[in-house]
């Protein structure tokens, strides 16, 4: 895999002479009159600061990026003066509509503005002062064990693709970097929470992991984004909202409030990216429907797994008594319906309508009953 330089530069006379010439005061200045657009950017809103949107101008901006990037395979900064022998970085994602979302620049700015630190921004001591009952704590530990698995996969997804995405999509790549930090921060806070309560981690979730690996290793970025940014993130967003609503402690509520903010951005990007993709590649509608026909089952793999379902029932119900379990089941049934409703609504909004009629999910979900 290693790349070796074209030559040994320490023995290249031309290179040595060029360096010596410059250091003797003979500046060539080939760059001085670079053939680039002259531009001075300003913050359009001083309160907001200087954003990427403020620099969305002419050859430097993203609006004028063509759909197909054929002339740029290096890391040269968009808009700079390209000359000389430039290497090929091997990007395989070179179509704007394969990665772009109209809100990606805004989401990147929001990611940075809404940063937080699990070590210090969560009121850990509150849980120490008011520990939960053993049953609830064990349920929390299992839930947070599962959530770490989800974040591990979520971390790998943008990491897997970022180096393969053309460097001209700098705003979108920057958002992917923000996603990596989001995922690692959420993994961190879930791990810390799982261990802080004293019950230890619990069991890994075979069904969830199998499904998550299937989603992670989708063949194309649009497919993977649909699965990870829209489907998985939509489910996780609903779960975070749910746990916040039934939070057994102030600590848990604080965690989930941060988590839903971070994950909300992923969902926004995923929905927006799908929408942009289908607007510019309408033929992909058929392909993505077929992809979902095959891959949607993962949602049930997650929802139906004991390691996911049972802790949520216990947390929502407040315990293992018959009445508590019934309350928990009622709440989880509502959560599942909410997840499905929002999933299909997002697909519809993004241009992949008709999914409810085509998908195998509704028939199974409709069979959920709570006696």
């Amino acid at each position: 895999m290693a790349f070796y330089a074209y030559k040994d530069y320490t023995e290249d006379q031309k290179v040595l002479e060029a360096m010596q010439s410059v250091m003797a005061g003979n500046l060539g200045l080939h760059w001085f009159n670079a053939n680039t657009e002259k531009f001075k950017g300003h913050a359009s809103d001083p309160n907001r600061g200087l954003t990427y949107d403020d620099l969305n101008h002419g050859t430097y901006g993203y609006s004028d990026l063509p759909e197909h990037l054929r002339t740029s395979q290096s890391m040269v900064a968009r808009g700079s003066d390209k000359s000389g022998k430039l290497p090929d970085m091997g990007y395989v994602v070179n179509r704007k509509s394969d990665v772009w979302s109209d809100n990606v620049s805004e989401l990147y700015e929001e990611t940075k503005a809404r940063r937080w630190a699990p070590a210090t921004d969560i009121p850990w001591a509150a849980l120490g002062e008011k520990p939960l009952s053993e049953t609830i704590e064990i349920a929390c530990a299992q839930l947070y064990t599962f959530l770490q698995e989800c974040e591990a996969v979520s971390l790998d997804f943008p990491a897997r693709w970022v180096a393969l995405v053309n460097q001209d999509f700098i705003e979108q790549k920057s958002f992917m970097c923000g996603q990596m930090l989001d995922a690692s921060r959420l993994l961190e806070v879930f791990r810390k929470r799982a261990l802080y309560g004293g019950a230890g981690l619990k069991r890994a979730n075979v069904n969830a992991e199998q499904g998550l690996k299937e989603w992670l290793w989708a063949e194309t970025y649009p497919q993977g984004s649909l699965s990870i940014n829209l489907a998985l993130s939509g489910m996780l967003l609903a779960i975070f909202r749910h746990v916040a609503a039934f939070a057994p402690s102030v600590t848990d509520r604080a965690i989930m409030r941060k988590a839903m903010q971070d994950r909300g951005r992923w969902v926004s990007y995923g929905t927006g990216a799908l929408r942009y993709h289908l607007e510019h590649q309408p033929g992909q509608r058929v392909a993505l429907h077929e992809y979902l026909d095959e891959s949607e089952h993962v949602m049930l793999g997650i929802i139906g797994s004991a390691e996911f379902l049972e802790p949520l029932i216990i947390i929502a119900g407040g315990g293992l008594d018959k009445d508590q379990v019934k309350t928990g089941r009622v709440a989880v049934a509502k959560l599942i319906k909410l997840m499905m409703r929002e999933y299909f609504a997002r697909l519809d909004y993004a241009g992949l309508g008709g999914r409810t009629e085509r998908s195998r999910l509704p028939q199974v979900m409709e069979r959920v009953q709570v006696a």
Partner: protein, 146 residues
């Protein structure tokens, strides 16, 4: 002096509190959303549109009806629910788990979230902390209920 809920005065008072706590809200990050609040009472409703930008509430207006195409989402509920939330905030300094916006709206049973597009809906969660802390500023107000 007490502010009446619901009224534009109530939201303007929260706006003033938000300005006073600018440093804190800046640390929470950008909040860029326009949403509506609807308070129902015996078949009649009062509707307000709140425009947030960067770190502050830029504008509050009362409107005769909510146009979901012009807002990211709306939070709708009976005055009884809103009152209970505000009183809870006053008692505790912030809404407790049973009375925060997320819990009350989660299954749409006490507060309902309505929206025209899902992306607008998701802004409620992207800015949840700022939105909740905005309402939690009620703890600093004397509020009377119509």
């Amino acid at each position: 002096m007490a502010v009446s809920f619901p009224s534009t005065d109530y939201f303007e008072a929260l706006k003033a509190q938000m300005v006073a706590a600018q440093e804190h809200f800046s640390r929470l990050g950008f909040i860029d959303t326009t949403f509506a609040v609807s308070v129902a009472n015996n078949g009649k409703s009062h509707h307000y549109v709140l425009e947030f930008e960067v770190f502050e509430l830029k504008n509050v207006s009362e409107v005769p009806a909510i146009d979901l195409k012009k807002v990211d989402f709306s939070i709708e509920g009976d005055t009884k629910v809103w009152r209970e939330m505000i009183e809870n905030i006053k008692r505790n300094g912030q809404a407790d788990t049973h009375h925060d916006i997320n819990t009350l709206a989660h299954f749409g049973e006490q507060l309902k979230i309505k929206y025209d597009d899902p992306d607008g809906h998701d802004k409620l969660y992207r800015f949840m902390e700022s939105i909740q802390e905005f309402f939690d500023l009620s703890s600093k107000l004397e509020v009377s209920f119509n």
